[in-house]
Symmetry: C2
C-alpha cells in the first residue's frame, strides 16, 4: 500500500509539474494546439448547429436573436467568462421571412425558384408579368397606372454559360506569389457618387414610380448564379432605408436565372405570362437595438490588455450563411475551445485577456464591429463610421484577427500594409508550413470587420484563404449551406488562428502598429 501510495504521489506531482510547466516551449504549444484543433476538432459540430439548426441569421431577425442566445450560452459552456450580448443600436427594424412560394400559372404551370429580398413587404396574388423597359423619364412615364397588380421585370436576359472551368478553386503557386509580391497598399480614393446624374435620376424615378404603383412584385435575376443557385440580398427603396420603421418597401424578388430568362423570352414572343406569389414576412425589433456576442478567457500578468478574435455571425436570409460566415464564426468559437483545452492541458495561462466577438450587422455595413470599436476604442462623430479621436483603451488592445472569406483553409496572412508585423507573423507561420500556410502579403483585404479596428489604428488582420466556391456559388446565395463547408480546411484554419491568438497574448510587446493621425481624447 505504502509503495503504491508513494508512486501515486509521485505521479500526481509529476502531472502537476507537467501541467504547469512554465518551460513549455513554443513547439510544445503548437503541438498541443494542433492536437486539439486537428484531432479533437469540434468545428463541424459547431458549424452544423449554427447553419443547420439555427438557420439564416439576418441581422434584426428572430433567427439571429436565437443564434446570439445560443452562442452566448455555448461559449459559457465551453468555459469562457463574461459571455454576454453587447448591445448597439440604430440598425433599424429587422425582418423575418415566414412563408414564400412562387409559381408560373400560364401558359404552363411550374414552381419557381426565387426568394424575396430582405425587408420586402409581404405580397400575395396572381397577375401578369410586364417588362419595365425605360431608358428615359418620358419612357418611364408611359408605365404610370400600368404596374399595379403586375409582376414587373426590371432587367433583361442574362446569358448563362456552361462550366468549362472549375467553379471551385484553390490557390496555386502563381496566385500565392502574386500575393507575396504585393507592394504597400495605397489608401483608396473615395468613390464619387452621382457620376452619371441622368442614370441616377432615372433610377430614382423608377423606384419612385414602383413605390407609387405597388406592383405584386419587382423581379430581378441577380448578376450571377445559375442551375438553381440564386444570389439574394436586401431590398431597395427610392429614398431612405428599407430598415426605417414604417417605410413601405416594394416587394422585390430575385429569381433563378433560368426561370427569369424563360419568362422574359416568352414576353419577347408576345406570349402573356401569369405568375402567382405568396410572400409573407414580418418586421421585427422596431427599436433597432442589435447585439454582438462577446466572451473572454481572462489574462494574467497583462490581463488589462486584450487580444481579440472574431467573425461576423449574421448572414443573408436565403441560405444559412455557411461560408458567409458560419465558417468564420464556427472557426472562432473553435479557436476559443482549442485555447481553453490547451490551457487545461498545459496549465499555462494567457498573459493578456483573450476576447471573442461574433458580430452582427456586418452585411449591411460592418455595423456591429464599428459600433463595438466606437463604444470601446474610439470616439466618433455622427456615425460609428467617422472616428474623430481615440479612447485610452485603444492602447490596451494588441490586435484583432478576423475570418470572413469562406470555407477555405489558410495559406497565410494579409498584413494590411503593416510591414512591421511581417517578421513576427513569419515566425508564427513556421509550425504550419507543412499545412500550406506560409505566405504573407502586404495587401489589404476589405469588406469585413477587421476594417473597423484598422480604422481606429488597431492592428486588424484577415487571413489568406483558399477561394473554393465562395465567390462563384455560396457567398450571399441560397446555396450557402453546411454541405459546402470543408471539414479539413476549417480545422486547419481554427488551429492556425488559435496559435496566432495565443502568441499575440504571450509576447512581451503588443503587436506593432501602423501610424495614425488620430489623437487620444
Amino acid at each position: 500500500m505504502k509503495q503504491i501510495f508513494s508512486l501515486f504521489v509521485i505521479a500526481c506531482l509529476s502531472l502537476t509539474i507537467t501541467a504547469q510547466n512554465p518551460t513549455t516551449t513554443t513547439k510544445d504549444i503548437a503541438d498541443v494546439i494542433k492536437k486539439h484543433g486537428l484531432e479533437n476538432s469540434q468545428v463541424m459540430d459547431i458549424a452544423s448547429y449554427i447553419t443547420d439548426v439555427l438557420g439564416q441569421r439576418l441581422t434584426g431577425s428572430t433567427g439571429l436573436k436565437n443564434a446570439n442566445d445560443w452562442a452566448k450560452n455555448k461559449l459559457t459552456d465551453m468555459g469562457m467568462k463574461n459571455s454576454h450580448l453587447q448591445q448597439w443600436n440604430s440598425f433599424g427594424r429587422g425582418w423575418d421571412m415566414t412563408h414564400f412560394e412562387m409559381h408560373a400559372e400560364t401558359p404552363t404551370y411550374w414552381p419557381i425558384i426565387a426568394y424575396p429580398k430582405a425587408w420586402s413587404s409581404s405580397s400575395k396574388g396572381s397577375g401578369e408579368v410586364i417588362y419595365l423597359n425605360a431608358t428615359t423619364i418620358e419612357e418611364l412615364n408611359k408605365y404610370k397606372g400600368k404596374l399595379s397588380g403586375k409582376f414587373v421585370m426590371i432587367e433583361g436576359i442574362r446569358e448563362v454559360n456552361e462550366a468549362f472551368e472549375p467553379t471551385a478553386k484553390r490557390h496555386d503557386t502563381e496566385s500565392l506569389l502574386n500575393l507575396a509580391n504585393a507592394t504597400q497598399p495605397v489608401p483608396r480614393e473615395r468613390r464619387r457618387f452621382g457620376g452619371n446624374s441622368t442614370a441616377a435620376e432615372l433610377r430614382a424615378a423608377t423606384w419612385k414610380l414602383l413605390e407609387d404603383e405597388k406592383p405584386l412584385a419587382v423581379l430581378d435575376r441577380s448578376r450571377k448564379g445559375d442551375l438553381g443557385t440564386v444570389f439574394v440580398s436586401g431590398a431597395r427603396t427610392a429614398e431612405g432605408s428599407a430598415r426605417d420603421n414604417g417605410k413601405y418597401v416594394v416587394p422585390q424578388i430575385t429569381m433563378a436565372i433560368e426561370h427569369y430568362n424563360r419568362i422574359f423570352r416568352m414576353l419577347e414572343k408576345g406570349i402573356p405570362v401569369k405568375l402567382s406569389v405568396d410572400s409573407q414576412s414580418k418586421y421585427t425589433n422596431p427599436d433597432g437595438n442589435e447585439n454582438n456576442v462577446i466572451a473572454e478567457i481572462p489574462g494574467t500578468d497583462l490581463k488589462d490588455e486584450v487580444v481579440m478574435f472574431g467573425a461576423h455571425y449574421d448572414s443573408w436570409h436565403a441560405g444559412t450563411g455557411a461560408t458567409d460566415n458560419g465558417s468564420g464564426s464556427a472557426v472562432m468559437m473553435e479557436v476559443a475551445r482549442i485555447l481553453i483545452e490547451t490551457i487545461k492541458e498545459t496549465g499555462i495561462k494567457p498573459r493578456r485577456t483573450l476576447r471573442i466577438a461574433l458580430w452582427s450587422g456586418e452585411e449591411q455595413g460592418l455595423h456591429g464591429s464599428r459600433n463595438y470599436v466606437a463604444q470601446t476604442f474610439a470616439n466618433t462623430g455622427e456615425s460609428s463610421r467617422s472616428i474623430t479621436s481615440l479612447k485610452p483603451a485603444q492602447k490596451k488592445i494588441s490586435g484583432y484577427f478576423n475570418m470572413d472569406n469562406g470555407t477555405g483553409k489558410l495559406r497565410g496572412v494579409y498584413l494590411q500594409g503593416n510591414q512591421a508585423v511581417s517578421p513576427i507573423f513569419r515566425e508564427w507561420l513556421k509550425p504550419f508550413h507543412d499545412m500550406g500556410a506560409s505566405t504573407l502579403s502586404l495587401s489589404n483585404t476589405g469588406g469585413t470587420d477587421h476594417l473597423a479596428f484598422d480604422a481606429a489604428g488597431i492592428p486588424g488582420f484577415q487571413f489568406i484563404q483558399e477561394p473554393i466556391s465562395y465567390s462563384t456559388k455560396t457567398h450571399h446565395s441560397n446555396m450557402d449551406n453546411f454541405d459546402h463547408l470543408i471539414a479539413d480546411d476549417l480545422k486547419q484554419a481554427a488551429t492556425i488562428i488559435a496559435y496566432f491568438v495565443w502568441q499575440t497574448s504571450q509576447r512581451d510587446e503588443k503587436l506593432p502598429r501602423k501610424e495614425t493621425n488620430l489623437k487620444y481624447n
Copy 2:
C-alpha cells in the same frame, strides 16, 4: 417592253435551269445545307418554343399533348406533308403537376427546393419528419403505425463535393481516339434480376408498408446534383406500375441535397423537424393512348422507300426537357426545315421519302419508337419489345438517324456495330471535318430510340456528341432548361444530320445492314 419581256423569259429559264440542275454536285448541296443550317438557323427559335413556351412534356401530360399539336402544325407550316399524330397505346394514365410547394416550418422556416416524382398522388399537410432506417423486416415492422401523417426519409446523407473539376466538358483527342479505336461491340447479356433476394424482399416490404401507412410523403435526395439542381424522375410502387389506372401511388418527393442533408443532420441531433407540403396533381388520359408526331417530305423515283430521322420529344417534368430532348427535337425539326429550304433553292427533289418522327414515351422505355416499329416494320409478341418477325415494309426503310444526348455538337457517328456503313459515313463527314466531326466509332450507344430500329434489323444511328453538362447537370434535372442549350453546337448538329439524311435519300442503294436472324412474315 418586248426586250424587257425577253430578258424576263431568259431570267426565268435560267432560274428554272439552276433550280432543277441535275448536275448540282455533292459539294454544292453541302454548301446549300450549310448556308441554311449555319447562317439562317432557326434551331434556337424552335428550341425556345418547345422548352420555354410548351414547357415540360411528360408522356401522358397535357403538356405533351399541347406540344404534339404544336409540332404537327409547325411541321405543316414548314412545308412538310402528311403531318399527323400516330397513335400508340397501353402507356397507362398520364399525370399533370398543377401545384407544388414545400417548406420547413420548425425549428426555423425556409422554403424547400423539391419536386414530386411523376405519378405521385397529391398531398397536403404538415407533419414531422422520420427516418425510416430498417435493414431487416423485423426492423421495418417497428415502423408500423408510425408513418401516417409523417414525412418519411428513406435515404441517408449524401456527401457533397465542390467542383474542382469542370462540370461541363467537350471531347478531346484522347476521348475521341478511344471511340475511334473501339472494337466490334458484343451483345450484352441481359441483366439478371433478384440477385439479392433479401434486399429485394426488404424493398418490396418497405414500399408495401409505405402504401399501407400513406405518409404525407416519402422523401429522397436523388443520387447526384447539388446547389439547387435536383434530378427527378418517376414514382415507384410496391408492385405494378404507377401508371396503372386506379393505382394508389405514395407521394414521393425528391429534395435538393442541401435541404435533405440539413434535415437529416437535425434528426441525427435529436431535433424534431416539421415540414409542410401542398403537392397537387391530376391523372390524365386514362385510355393510355399516346401519340408520336410524324411528317414527310415526299420522295420521287424511290418514293416508296423511306429515310427516317427523329428524336424523342417527351421529357421529365421538373425542367423543360431542353437537353433531354428538346435539343434533339429542335434539331430534327430544323433538319426538316433545312432540307425543305435546300430543295427549294436547288430544285433537287429527294429520291426517297424523308420522314421525321418525334417520339413519346421514351423516358419510360422507348415506348413511342418501339410501338411505331411494331406498327410499321415488325411483328411482335405480347409487347412491342419482343419482335418475332419482320413486315415487308422493313425492306423499304434505308436508315434512321436519332439525336438524344444533349446540346453538344457532333464529333462523329456511333456505327452501332455496322462496319459496312463506315466508308459511306466517312465520306459523308468530309464536308464537316473543319467543324469537328470526323470520328467514327464501331461502338453501340444505348438508351434511346434508334434501338427500336436496330432491334428490327434497320440501320439506326446516334451521333457522337460533346458531353457538355448533360450527365452532370441537366439530364433529368429541374435545370434542364433552354439556357443550357448552346446555339452554335445545335446549328452544327442540324446541318450535319440534314446532310446525312439527304445523302441517305439520294444514294442508289439503301444503307448496308447488319445481319439479323429475323424472318419476314
